[in-house]
């Protein structure tokens, strides 16, 4: 057949650089300076999360009642808290808890939300209506009451904080994913799969889900920031992690009484939270520019 020549036509031209999707993403992402820098910061955080306990200069739990509320000094570079614990060590050790609580709660929320959202968008009809109306109710329902209920039923503790925070994010994820599902459903390749007789499960997870991934990733990074703040707000209301845990949010809320007298107790974890949330949001912004098909093309 004459078409075979299509293959040979490129012989005399320089081989074209066609990247795999992952590679292409990476190349584009590197151009996003701020986002790239922010993601390096997050990488640093992850490293700290892993090795934090071993590089911490002091035992983050060990009190020293003779050296409480000391300002930053050469001995304690970020000062000490109300029990004389080294704030720097606590922040280092707390990185793991803070990051894992926020990421796991967001991921949990994302998983549940995604499944609900895809089903809602894909099947439509009464299922859609039920899921969407319930998420409306969830939106209207004060987060805190939900948190209290969850913590009340499950008891306090980090795991339950994770559950509580993830429950908050389920409706948002469900909506987001439903939106992109409705969009993805319009793709002819979905129809093509249907015409081949592909089962619903395959269509939903093989064909539709990947279409939602890029907006999901963007949203996840942004939600992680929200989750850190949500978890710290729970601490503020005393519903968070066990109080001795060097979770940044808990440090922030326990330390707030000392804002006037020993402000470093609040400022240091506050700055840590701020920078981390900022970094996640910047990465999310960058990812959006790279991944979102709507803003991607020049």
């Amino acid at each position: 057949m004459e078409f075979t020549s299509t293959v040979t036509e490129k012989k005399q031209v320089v081989p074209k650089k066609k990247y795999s999707p992952v590679r292409e993403f990476w190349v584009n992402f590197k151009h996003q300076k701020t986002a790239f820098f922010a993601s390096m910061f997050i990488l640093l955080l992850i490293i700290i999360a892993i090795i934090g306990p071993s590089i911490a200069p002091y035992d983050p739990y060990k009190p020293d009642y003779d050296a409480t509320l000391q300002g930053p000094s050469s001995e304690h570079i970020l000062g000490t808290d109300e029990y004389g614990r080294d704030i720097f060590s606590r922040i280092l050790v707390g990185t793991r808890i803070t990051l894992s609580v926020s990421t796991s709660s967001v991921l949990l929320g994302a998983i549940v939300g995604t499944v609900l959202g895809i089903m809602s968008g894909y099947f439509g009809g009464w299922l859609d209506r039920i899921i969407m109306r319930s998420s409306d109710v969830m939106f209207a329902f004060p987060d805190l009451l939900l948190a209290i209920a969850i913590v009340a039923v499950l008891g306090p503790g980090l795991n339950n904080v994770i559950i509580a925070v993830s429950v908050f994010s389920v409706p948002s994820f469900a909506r987001l994913v439903r939106g992109s599902t409705l969009e993805a459903k319009e793709n002819t390749f979905v129809e093509a799969a249907k015409s081949m007789g592909a089962p619903h499960k395959r269509i939903m997870f093989k064909h539709i889900f990947p279409e939602t991934v890029s907006s999901l990733i963007v949203f996840v990074t942004m939600r992680i920031g929200t989750a850190i703040i949500a978890a710290s707000s729970l601490s503020f209301l005393g519903l968070g992690a066990s109080p001795e845990t060097p979770d940044w949010g808990a440090m922030l809320s326990m330390g707030r009484d000392y804002l006037g007298t020993a402000s470093h107790v609040v400022m240091m974890p506050g700055i840590a939270i701020f920078l981390t949330v900022l970094a996640f949001n910047l990465v999310g912004d960058g990812l959006r520019d790279v991944l979102d098909p709507k803003t991607k093309n020049e």
Binding site: V137, A140, A152, V153, I229, S263, V266, F274
Partner: protein, 306 residues
């Protein structure tokens, strides 16, 4: 239009009924016995049981619900278990300040958010964009109570410009509304930016330029209005959240709002107050959605109400 609004309001009723049942079940499922809390720490079991009967808490839940709803239809929100005051009385003083605070926060967040977002989109990838986005993202990244406490330290204690709290006079609204609006402003700025960037790629923008329009009129007359549609959605959603009150901001600024009342009531398991407050929030939420829909139709002529 009027018919449409009426229809929407009628549609609210079954939804609210469902919400009321759900919330009623929900709040009764949370552990905690208001009778114990009413009776006091030093009360004996006997006292607690008596209080329980007195407050009608010994009744089956459905009966309590029927009583509550019955009173509600008579316009009676019930009596607070904690204070013994009519719930409507407790809401009266807090409702308007909450509304004002919400409007103010929303107002400035909308104006500044739109300005930052527009500038960022127009100067995409130039310094105003970077500056604007860092400002915006910072707004999201600051924990509310931290920002609030720092604002108090600077503007109340150090500079003495604004009171530390309360809800008397416009001055006392300044700091809480900044704290509350910061996150929303940021979100709106970001949405405005991306939405505007998208609109600026639309064909009709090119048409506008092909007509010989000035770039400024292309932006204001053609691009901005189109890009407001998604922004309105986000704004509406946030508005709904704000109306529910912000516990954190209300606590930091000792602001007499609905959020703190709700929290105090939750802590006390003050069922009638919680129930009424949740119902009120739901109504607000639905009304805000309605307003957003109407705003939609003014922004987007494609959507029509028949």
């Amino acid at each position: 239009m009027f018919q449409y609004i009426l229809k929407r309001i009628i549609e609210m009723i079954p939804l609210l009924l469902v919400v009321s049942i759900l919330t009623f079940l929900f709040i009764h499922m949370i552990p905690g016995d208001p009778a114990r809390l009413v009776a006091g720490k030093d009360a004996t079991l006997e006292d607690v049981n008596r209080v329980s009967i007195e407050l009608g808490l010994d009744q089956p839940i459905w009966k309590q619900y029927v009583t509550f709803m019955g009173n509600l239809f008579k316009g009676d929100l019930g009596t607070s278990l904690k204070t013994g005051l009519p719930v409507s009385n407790m809401f009266a003083d807090r409702f308007m300040p909450s509304i004002y605070l919400t409007l103010l926060s929303m107002g400035w967040a909308l104006v500044i958010g739109l300005i930052i977002g527009t500038l960022s989109a127009v100067f995409k990838n130039k310094w105003p964009d970077h500056l604007g986005m860092v400002t915006a993202v910072s707004g999201i990244s600051l924990p509310g109570f931290w920002l609030g406490l720092i604002l108090i330290q600077i503007f109340s204690v150090q500079l003495g410009w604004f009171p530390t709290g309360g809800a008397e006079g416009w001055k006392s609204y300044v700091l809480p509304s900044i704290t509350l609006g910061a996150g929303i402003m940021s979100m709106l700025a970001r949405f405005t930016r991306s939405s505007l960037l998208e609109t600026l790629k639309a064909d009709f923008i090119r048409t506008g330029r092909a007509k010989g329009l000035k770039e400024s009129s292309v932006l204001t007359k053609h691009a901005l209005r189109n890009s407001l549609i998604p922004v309105v959605t986000i704004a509406g959603l946030q508005f709904g959240f704000l109306l529910g009150g912000s516990v954190v901001v209300e606590t930091v600024f000792s602001f007499p709002g609905m959020g703190r009342l709700l929290i105090d009531s939750i802590a006390f398991r003050d069922y009638p107050v919680i129930q009424s407050a949740l119902l009120l929030f739901s109504i607000e939420f639905i009304l805000v959605n309605l307003i957003v829909d109407i705003l939609y139709s003014t922004l987007n002529p494609k959507i029509q109400y028949e």
